[in-house]
Amino acid sequence: MTDLALVLEHAGRPDVVAHLSNSDPKRVVPLLAKKRLDIADLALLLSPGAAPLLEDMARRAAAITRSRFGNAVVLYAPLYISNHCSGNCPYCGFKNTMNIRRVTLSLDQIRKEAAVLRDAGIRHLLLVSGDGPGTETDDLCAIARELKPLFPSISVEVPPLSQPDYARLLSSGVDGVTLYQETYDRCRYHRLHADGPKEDFDFRLDALSRAGAAGMRRLNIGALWGLSDWRADALSLGLHARFLEKECWRSQVLIGMPRLHQVPGDFAIPHPVCDRDFVHIIVALRLFCHDAGIVVSTRERPEFRDNLLALGATQFSAGSKTHPGGYAGDVDGGSQFDIDDCRSAAAVQDALSQKGYDPVLKDWDAGFLC
């Protein structure tokens, strides 16, 4: 078992599990004034007993977020390279049994997409792809080298890679890696991903550690809310973040907050997460990890998303299209998921400014790496 897997085993300790099902708010109150929280504290913060204290937790989370991140909100946009995927994850719009138009963009098409994003002011780019042909590490390196002059920061959200592959991406100009574990519940994970390319739970789990060891500057982890019990997943996610902060101490750790809303066809969301619980997760994680960036995507509706800024969110996608060719419009592949915040990048910037936040388009410089 890897070091991280051993750390995550603590989430299953009987005392921690007992904390996670606590129903007494009085046990949570002292934690609001505690400087540094441990795993047992996080379990209590996530417990049903913490729910009546959500407003108090939110106030504390807001103060921490403001102190650590000020009024700045970093904006980014995804660029989908391909929607080919050999996997059959039941919740994903790219699963191989979905009848959608499959596309892998050529370098020329990627250039067109990039030009639209650059014109919209986007400087932080997230390259997204499944595992189809044309998305090997060599291809990603070539794409990154091509786009580097246009975007000071390029991250990737692709299947887990080896440390040498992450190192090659880094030397091609990629500075961050996003990879969500989907769920930290091994049994559920295996049921959802049996016999597919995502079968190996631990290879995925340790990917961000490998990326950090390769020198990646931003490590973005997450669980897909809705797949499993959110309290247990949030506890493991917090432990994962803390582990990376300690072991990959030169990298910034970010927590993504993807939540399932609509899913393809016959799949019923096993553990739907309501707005209140979604907020509960964010504020509990902020209290546990003061310095982790928290990323909220266009899966969430505009007003709800904007209100999360005060509580802990520090990074937004903006003007996103979730299918290859979505920006330039000359190719039209199927989407990974439907978006609920359809505002343009400019409209998101305006909304943030009106709420007293500074929308930051550039918070990184290519000069750090080249």
């Binding site: 403001r66 102190s67 650590r68 991140f69 000020g70 009024n71 700045a72 002011g121 400087r123 000071p152 902060e245 101490w249 030169r250 990298s251 910034q252 003061h290 310095d291 400014s353 007293g356 936040y357 500074d358 930051v360 388009l361 550039k362 918070d363 990184w364 410089d365 000069g367 750090f368 080249c370």
Partner: protein, 258 residues
């Protein structure tokens, strides 16, 4: 030269308050705070600047380059190589050859790496930069940086953004006593009283950012810091009397001795 100027690398400044530009709610809020602070040296993180497109850059477009010395900082750099590269990018992008070296490999605590900070300072001085290094409050490192040609020493008062005030007072007092270049207390100053304390201790200047950016009224807080820096400096020049933990009677017991 006006009396009591702050002189850094031969350049005089009447203000002893330096301000940073991060974390504000808008470029306009930042501009108002900078103006209210009376600062003449303004730091900007190079990673935030869009030197390819300065007209579109919120921060750069609101600041008057004639009025302020724009001091690029290398925040985000993990080692000397990165800091040196960023400094050159800033200079090639048209900024003055002054750089605030920040080498903070741990993005959480943002503590400066003493070894890499010294390396960066040595190289940048050789490359013709005026170097203002953000540094741990370590008197020996201060001597080494000065030997390397640093134009100022910028020891931290406490963790950056913490607002905890001066937690490193003993070390900063030694740094001030031994320094031949201006000492600017940087990081951790959360209230004007912290700035006044630094100036009373004999610091030549202070730098603040977060305390202004996250205040309810950044411009008013900047004004508060401006006044505090002046008050602390005035008190320092006035020559404060000695302090004591014990009361001293105004009619001493030995007053009868002729």
């Amino acid at each position: 030269m006006t009396p009591d100027s702050l002189v850094i690398a031969g350049r005089s400044f009447t203000s002893r308050l330096l301000v940073g530009t991060g974390k504000f709610s808008s470029a306009q809020a930042m501009k108002s705070a900078v103006e209210a602070s009376g600062a003449q040296i303004v730091t900007i993180a190079l990673r935030r600047m869009d030197l390819d497109d300065p007209g579109q850059d919120n921060m750069l477009s609101v600041l008057d380059f004639e009025k302020y010395l724009i001091l690029a900082n290398t925040s985000g750099a993990r080692d000397a190589d990165e800091a040196v590269r960023l400094a050159h990018i800033a200079r090639n992008g048209g900024l003055p050859p002054w750089v605030k070296v920040e080498v903070t490999p741990d993005p959480r605590n943002l503590l400066p790496d003493p070894v890499e900070t010294l390396r960066a300072c040595e190289r940048l001085v050789k490359d013709g930069f005026t170097v203002l290094p953000y540094m741990p409050a370590d008197p020996i490192l201060a001597r080494r940086l000065e030997e390397a040609g640093a134009a100022t020493l910028m020891p931290l008062g406490s963790l950056i953004g913490s607002g905890l005030g001066i937690r490193t007072a003993d070390a900063i007092e030694i740094i001030i006593e031994q320094a031949h270049v201006p000492v600017v207390v940087d990081a951790g100053l959360g209230l004007p009283s912290h700035a006044a304390q630094a100036m009373e201790m004999g610091a030549d200047a202070v730098l603040v950012n977060t305390a202004l950016a996250i205040a309810q009224n950044p411009a008013a807080m900047a004004d508060g810091f401006r006044l505090a820096v002046q008050a602390g400096r005035t008190a320092r020049l006035a020559g404060p009397g000695a302090t004591s933990r014990e009361a001293r009677a105004s009619s001493p017991l030995t007053g009868f001795i002729r």
